[in-house]
Amino acid sequence: MSADTAVRLPGMRAKNPVMTASGTFGYGMEFAPYGDLRRLGGIVVKGLSLKPRTGNAMPRIAETPCGMLNAIGLQNCGVEAFLRDKLPRLPFKDTPIIANLYACDADEFAELAGVLAAEEGVAALEVNISCPNVKAGGIAFGQDPAMAGKLTEAVKKRAGNKPVWVKLSPNVTDIVGIARAAVLGGADVLTCINTLTGMAVDIRSRKPRLANVIGGLSGPAIKPVALRCVWQVCQAVSAPVIGVGGVSSAEDVLEFILVGAHAVQIGTANFMRPDMAFRIAERLPQLMDELGIKDLDEYRGTLLAG
């Protein structure tokens, strides 16, 4: 294997660009039976809040063409239990563990950032300003540039030396505007994209397929939208971008890097088979060899467009 898959990101080095997306890889250990977690470029854990959250009523998931809808509603054990019970079991010395933050207002976000910033095992803070599945806050932060900027600033102030990643919503007229605001607010990295808002119904029972009615669309179906968002954001800002949305093969990883991403996150594809992220991480250097790509810096953003 001659290809070099390493990626430098603010404050961290990843051995490869294959990370897992928040909410699709549990707290990490759930997937340990299916591969060596140390082989991954990074693990973003399920969205954490200050206090435990029960999440939304059932049903919470529905299958759609080449994708799925979810409205989990950020069920999580709370940051305290995470730090006490989950984080110590993760190989944080070998693989960056990224905490995904969810809160209802800027103060809470900042407080949460403060708690996590103190932890050696946390490599970065990914701020979820784009969750479509919760009533309070959630997506609104990610749809208004001013709010997105302020929120990022508040988190950044309390994040100590931890890099702050801001996760953007595609459900906006102008994702570039939000991206710029986040960077101005101090974001070190942008994660693109969270789910698209969508819906599914059952014509027989006449009920929505999600108790929450509206949910987040993810999976291969949304890859074209994710690629477009990453491309647009990479053209506009110089902060590194992590591509998320429908990645399910090593080829997909290179597509995102070709349009400018530094790394990617595997989300829904982890459900297709639990060893998916490991397989993609293993296959990537082979594919790079086949294409004659020596390292990712050389290939990144080299799309022949225009």
Binding site: G23, T24, F25, G26, E30, F31, A32, P33, Y34, D36, K46, T54, G55, A57, M58, P59, R60, I61, A62, E63, T64, P65, C66, G67, M68, N70, I72, Q75, A211, G219, P220, S248, T268, N270, F271, M272, R273, P274, D275
Partner: protein, 264 residues
């Protein structure tokens, strides 16, 4: 790291209709080679994804382990939608990815009189249960079905355990089946009751178990995306009102661990 649950690329050995197959129904046995899955507890399940799924459907499909021997994994599948249709059309040699055994199986109390309440394809895990039970003389089966009895492994099970079938043909049959269930639950109130089948059956069993103070387990068939505890999509409310994953804490639960509701 044990190999329990690791993800395996298997090969279909055979796909056999279990009985008559119609436009609206059909049950099949799928046999796969077993390159070393961990032994299963009856009631555990596997997640299955044939290469033929491509990117659509996105999710794998969960199936109870119908029989797992050192050289064979057998599933019993009712073709009832897109995914199961694709699965039941596979041919020998076709590749299929499987992970498991997953989740918590049924309690095994060899000395205790035990009744298996099965509805339709809910009979699948009881094949493994009966085949591995050390004292099948203590086992009975009450089986409710809509498709012809020959579509199910009922004859095989009757050879191992005391078995009784109840066909639901008209809406009138339902109350009669429920009173049949009530009789059984009452009879086994001091024993062990295991139920697997459509949610209404499980709700009925849970209600009856409560009424008669019986010890009962139900196997839930909640929608699952990952099967390994990673998505939080399959949850059910436990007795404390918290959502627990059906795929890891279940699919088999004691009825008093849960606060079961209609939706899922």
């Amino acid at each position: 790291m044990g190999i329990s649950g690791a993800c395996r690329d298997l090969t279909i050995l055979s796909v056999t209709p279990a009985g008559p197959v119609g436009a609206q129904f059909g049950c099949y046995y799928l046999e796969m080679d077993n390159p070393g899955l961990d032994p299963a507890v009856a009631g555990q399940f596997v997640m299955v994804r044939p290469a033929a799924f491509g990117s659509d459907p996105v999710w794998p499909r969960p199936f109870s382990i119908c029989r797992l021997t050192p050289d064979r994994l057998t599933l019993f599948i009712q073709a009832c939608g897109r995914g199961t249709d694709i699965l039941c059309r596979l041919a020998p040699g076709d590749p299929v990815t499987v992970w498991g055994p997953l989740g918590q199986g049924f309690a095994l109390e060899p000395a205790v009189p035990t009744v298996m309440l099965a509805g339709g394809v809910g009979i699948a895990p009881f094949m493994e249960y009966a085949a591995t039970h050390p004292a099948p003389g203590n086992l009975s089966l009450v089986f409710g079905h809509r498709q012809p009895l020959s579509c199910y492994p009922f004859a095989e099970l009757s050879q191992l355990v005391r078995a009784e079938a109840f066909e639901e043909k008209t809406p009138d049959d339902l109350p009669r089946f429920i009173s049949r269930l009530e009789k059984t639950v009452a009879e086994f109130a001091g024993g062990l009751i295991l139920a697997c089948g459509p949610r209404p059956l499980l709700l009925t069993v849970a209600r009856l178990a409560r009424r008669y103070g019986a010890r009962a387990q139900v196997s839930l068939e909640n929608r699952m995306a990952c099967g390994v505890g990673g998505c939080l999509g399959c949850v059910e409310k436990n007795a404390l009102g918290q959502y627990v994953q059906t795929c890891t804490e279940g699919p088999v639960f004691w009825v008093d661990e849960l606060s079961l509701s209609e939706d899922a």
